[in-house]
Amino acid sequence: CACAAMAAAEACVGQVVLPGDVLLLPAHPDEDGERLRLGTAAAPRGRLLCGPGLRRCAAGLLVTKCGLLRHRPAGGGAAAGGAYWVDSQQKRYVPVKGDHVIGIVTAKAGDVFKLDVGGSEQASLSYLAFEGATKRNRPNVQVGDLIYGQFLVANKDMEPEMVCIDSSGRSSGMGIIGQDGFLFKVSLGLIRKLLAPKCEIIQELSQLYPFELVLGMNGRIWVKAKTVQQTLIIVNILEASEYMTAVQRKQALAKLSGN
């Protein structure tokens, strides 16, 4: 692949990019002219989403992480306008606002719980941030419990804060994760692969036996099945699926379903 520091963004999609590369966006007409034109005609690009691993710079987008450049073309739905991001692999999680993560309660300090989310700092979770919690009606959270919540505040200057309710006040599945089950850690890239819309691994596993799964964006997965053996089998498959090819995985699953 071309090692040029500057290249057009579209040319690099699907190729490895390194920190320091500048991706040039297609030249756009004069700003003032565009401001006037955007009003009448539909903007050809709309708003461009500059995802993780990329930063804005004078010429275009500056790469800050090494990995493969991905692009999603503009389309209707959640984000109008195209999106560029770098698909990188790492094991260490950095808290990001809006991410759903699994945290382990490490301390109860008055009205606030301290959670370990795998980042550089512990996240804080107020006892009022649960559905139906009031000053009198406190949630029953003990040290060592698992909590599934999302980040309300997560930047490099402040201590991360988590909540277990969404903006409308409903829990929508967040909160204390129940008893039993098994928690283990995988790399962040695997989590994203498993959470992709049509993940083969998940589909194949769901055919095996009934189980419950919680995936946290901080690399933590919690699995619960009817027996300990089934739980451990699922854990082993998920951990190994990072490096297994599709063929190997199908073979392993065939052996299991045969047994």
Partner: protein, 148 residues
């Protein structure tokens, strides 16, 4: 600074003087206003909007029915922007039973009101014969002096 009994005028003068002092000492940059450029690129540090990831809690083969309901709800939210409200609420009582109960209910409550005074009739009387009824009522209510 804040003195009692100051007139409003002198107060205003004092404030103006303070403002002048502040504005003269107030430092400002002598640079021209920078135009806001590139407002169409949004920086995003999360992977969620980029890759359309699914919801993190999953359950298969009926292990946890609540989570399965949630899965359907949360994942369809991303595909269809409109959240479908429950069109048909599952009724606790069937329609037939409701109709039967309602029939008897209307009868029993209706009987209760047969005993009571008919307020509609009273109101009609008032409206029709104002002049007739009012003096008679007034006559009744007035204290009747015992005749010697």
């Amino acid at each position: 600074f804040m003195q009692r009994g100051l007139d409003s005028q002198t107060k205003k003068q004092l404030e103006e003087e303070e403002k002048k002092i502040i504005s003269e000492e107030h430092w400002y940059l002598d640079l021209p206003d920078l135009k806001e450029k590139e407002s169409f690129i949004i920086e995003e540090r999360s992977f969620m909007p980029c890759e359309d990831l699914l919801y993190g809690r999953m359950s298969f083969k009926g292990f946890n029915p609540e989570v399965e309901k949630l899965m359907v709800q949360m994942n369809s939210k991303w595909k269809e922007e409109e959240i479908e409200v429950d069109d048909k609420m599952e009724a606790d009582v069937s329609d037939e039973e409701m109709a039967r109960r309602y029939e008897t209910l209307v009868g029993t409550i209706g009987k209760k009101f047969l005993r009571k005074r008919d307020h509609r009739v009273l109101q009609d009387e008032d409206e029709d014969g104002n002049s007739n009824t009012r003096p008679s009522k007034k006559a009744k209510k007035k204290f009747l002096k015992p005749q010697d």
